[in-house]
């Protein structure tokens, strides 16, 4: 509407048109003034580090010699030499099996954790949306895992999962479900499961809360109309509830996906140095600060950024997400 009136204002005689453009200039100016602090902060805390990282990924920088970095082109990403024997040897990030292992680990972790969290979060949200005594208390209680800092909860779970003294092994042995103690976080077979369990435990509340917000936007009277229509509750869920909370669900899934694609802290604490759980972020950090391959780590970070950006764009494109909540 505002646009329309501005348009029509500019078609009326010149004198008034001039006033109209003055007004517009003023609005544009104040828009910039209001945006400036945010843009400045973003440039300082996000733009600059990102630019530096991308820059370093094209150099041979090392942690001890950042200022003496020389430009090496795409060498960190991919380079090859052809030996006299005719064999070509590829090197660089894109030829590194450790990198592709990390990419695969990250995608696997993201896919499984977000799916499980969405399903569980939906169930929890549906329960919390129902009327029952003490609902407020349960709603608050369920948020506790989300409120605990990741480092704390990861350490807590590390102790519970500990192979020698952990309570989990103790319980499972006592019940006779396992015959010997399992090194949950160290064993290649169970490390990823351990990480997934802790992540699901931690972030399901967040998912539930976002979905609950969506559920509360659904008008209650349509459920009564469905009861009058005699529609089975399961069908009501699939045909009414799910389509109506779809926008909220999509937003929740994007949030969680972006979060788990860059998973770092939980794995760093729970299962360090484990190839089965090494994600892109963990690999980048190792190269940046432990292996003295700063430029190589910067290349991994840049790739991580590109992958997350691509997946997000694709997801929003295919999901046709309307963040305003309309169909």
């Amino acid at each position: 509407m505002t646009e329309l009136s501005l348009e029509s204002a500019s078609t009326v005689p010149a004198a008034r048109g001039a006033i109209g453009s003055d007004l517009r200039m003023q609005r544009v100016r104040s828009a910039w003034i209001f945006l400036a602090p945010t843009l400045f902060m973003l440039a300082v805390v996000a733009g600059w580090p990102l630019t530096r990282t991308i820059y370093f990924s094209f150099t041979n920088a090392s942690l001890t010699n950042l200022s003496g970095a020389e430009f090496v082109g795409l060498k960190n990403y991919l380079s090859w030499v052809t030996l006299k024997s005719g064999r070509t040897i590829f090197s660089g990030l894109l030829a590194d099996p450790a990198w592709w292992g990390a990419v695969w680990n990250t995608l696997k972790f993201t896919l499984i954790s977000v799916s499980v969290e969405t399903a569980l979060g939906l169930i929890v949200a549906l329960v919390l949306n129902a009327q029952f005594p003490g609902r407020g208390l349960v709603r608050a209680a369920i948020l506790i895992p989300w409120a605990i800092p990741t480092i704390v909860s990861a350490k807590m779970w590390a102790w519970m999962l500990n192979d020698q003294f952990g309570i989990l092994n103790d319980i499972l042995l006592g019940l006779g479900l396992i015959s010997q103690k399992i090194a949950w976080t160290a064993s290649p077979d169970t490390a990823m499961i351990a990480v997934l369990v802790v992540d699901v435990w931690k972030t399901t509340p967040f998912m539930a809360l976002l979905i609950l917000a969506g559920l509360q936007m659904v008008p209650g009277d349509i459920y009564e109309a469905a009861r009058i229509d005699g529609i089975h509750p399961v069908r009501v869920f699939w045909r009414l509830t799910l389509p109506l909370i779809r926008p909220a669900l999509m937003v929740a899934i994007i949030f969680r996906m972006l979060d788990s694609l860059r998973i770092f802290d939980l794995i760093y604490v729970l299962t360090p140095n484990n190839a089965q759980t090494r994600t892109m972020s963990v690999l980048a950090r190792e190269n940046l600060f432990e292996f003295d391959k700063f430029a190589y780590g910067a290349a991994a970070s840049t790739m991580l950024f590109l992958i997350i950006a691509t997946i997000t764009v694709l997801y929003m494109w295919f999901g046709r997400v309307n963040l305003e909540g309309e169909r």
Partner: protein, 342 residues
């Protein structure tokens, strides 16, 4: 065709009793209107009949069969909600067909019924639209259509016109009256707080107050023979004039009530006299507000355009046999010798 019987129906929410023992018979094919001020329990009573709320005690039967424990579809009811309650992500057609697709009927049959209902309500051009692409009146017609398609034995309306503007309300009221005539075998129960809707639509009106039935009767019965001060004040616009003290003593009553059209302005010495405080001129008739010394000004209806000026003194006389008498508790004192309006 369903005859509905309510026997000592009670409903409590926690410790709070909303319906305090309601008994009534609703005849088959009748248009019954529940009317009352907000909070009187009329909507709750409708929801109890619909099966959306559980009855705390008492029995509800349809055609002699107790339905207390039956789900809404098993009772054979359909309901139109105040907020329309359309499924926002489904087209008009899907909204009307959703309940039927599952009832195990064959597709050709329900498709035909949806189309028939749409034609009846002039909704055919909108069948593929979403509810948010429709106006308020069209949405309400879709809600009515969804109910018609169910071919209910009992048709329930919960304040269906409250979200419409004044002109649309009158038009839709007319449509509902027509609907009742065309579905004369269907029992209809209609909840409203608007006594004009009640008067114009109802075969019989049930006035509710604080979870109890105040009076049940045809619109004219309630208008001419209200059995309490509450009904007398609720039915009719403008509100009935109430006088007490010195005014009511000669009538041997605690309070007397006279409708605005039952007071004559006399050229000679009248029963009472008052000063004009205000006149409302509606064109066809006028309402003159008179200060006669009672707590509230007395309203007198005059045909045509009133020429009285504020401050003018008028002589008035109540028409004979048109004075309603009430005792201390607000109950009507029989016989209420009411003759038809003059």
């Amino acid at each position: 065709m369903a005859e509905i019987q309510l026997r000592d129906i009670r409903k409590s929410f926690g410790a709070y009793e909303v319906i305090k023992g309601v008994s009534m018979d609703i005849r088959a094919g009748e248009f019954m209107v529940f009317v009352g001020p907000s909070g009187c329990g009329k909507s709750t009573l409708l929801r109890l009949i619909a099966g959306l709320e559980e009855i705390t005690s008492g029995t509800l039967s349809f055609d002699g069969r107790v339905v207390n424990q039956l789900t809404p579809p098993k009772r054979g009811i359909a309901m139109v909600f105040q907020s329309y309650a359309l499924y926002p992500h489904m087209t008009v057609f899907e909204n009307m067909a959703f309940g039927m697709q599952l009832a195990g009927r064959d597709k050709a049959q329900w498709k035909e019924r949806v189309e028939a209902a749409a034609a009846m309500l002039q909704l055919t051009p909108y069948l593929q639209r979403l509810p948010r692409q429709l106006s308020g009146g069209q949405r309400q017609r879709v809600a009515i259509g969804r109910a018609i398609v169910r071919d209910p034995k009992v048709f329930l309306f919960d304040e269906p016109l409250s979200n419409l503007d004044a002109a649309l309300r009158v038009a839709t009221r007319l449509e509902i009256a027509k609907l009742h005539r065309s579905m004369h075998k269907t029992t209809m129960i209609y909840v409203t707080h608007d006594q004009v809707e009640a008067m114009t639509l109802a075969d019989r009106i049930c006035v509710l107050r604080d979870g109890l039935v105040e009076q049940i009767g045809t619109p004219l019965e309630l208008y001419e023979n209200p059995n309490s001060l509450f009904v007398a004040g609720f039915i009719g616009s403008p509100k009935m004039n109430f006088l007490s003290g010195d005014f009511s003593r000669p009538y041997d009553a605690h309070t007397i009530g006279i409708r605005a059209e039952h007071i004559a302005i006399t050229p000679h010495e009248g029963h009472w006299a008052g000063t004009v405080v205000h006149s409302e001129i509606l064109g066809s008739d006028s309402y003159v507000y008179l200060d006669v010394g009672s707590a509230e000004p007395l309203i007198v209806r005059e045909n045509g355009v009133s020429g009285h000026q504020p401050g003018q003194r008028l002589q008035i006389t109540p028409m004979e046999g048109c004075v309603h008498r009430f005792d201390m508790a607000g109950r009507a004192i029989a016989p209420a010798k009411i003759r038809g309006a003059a």
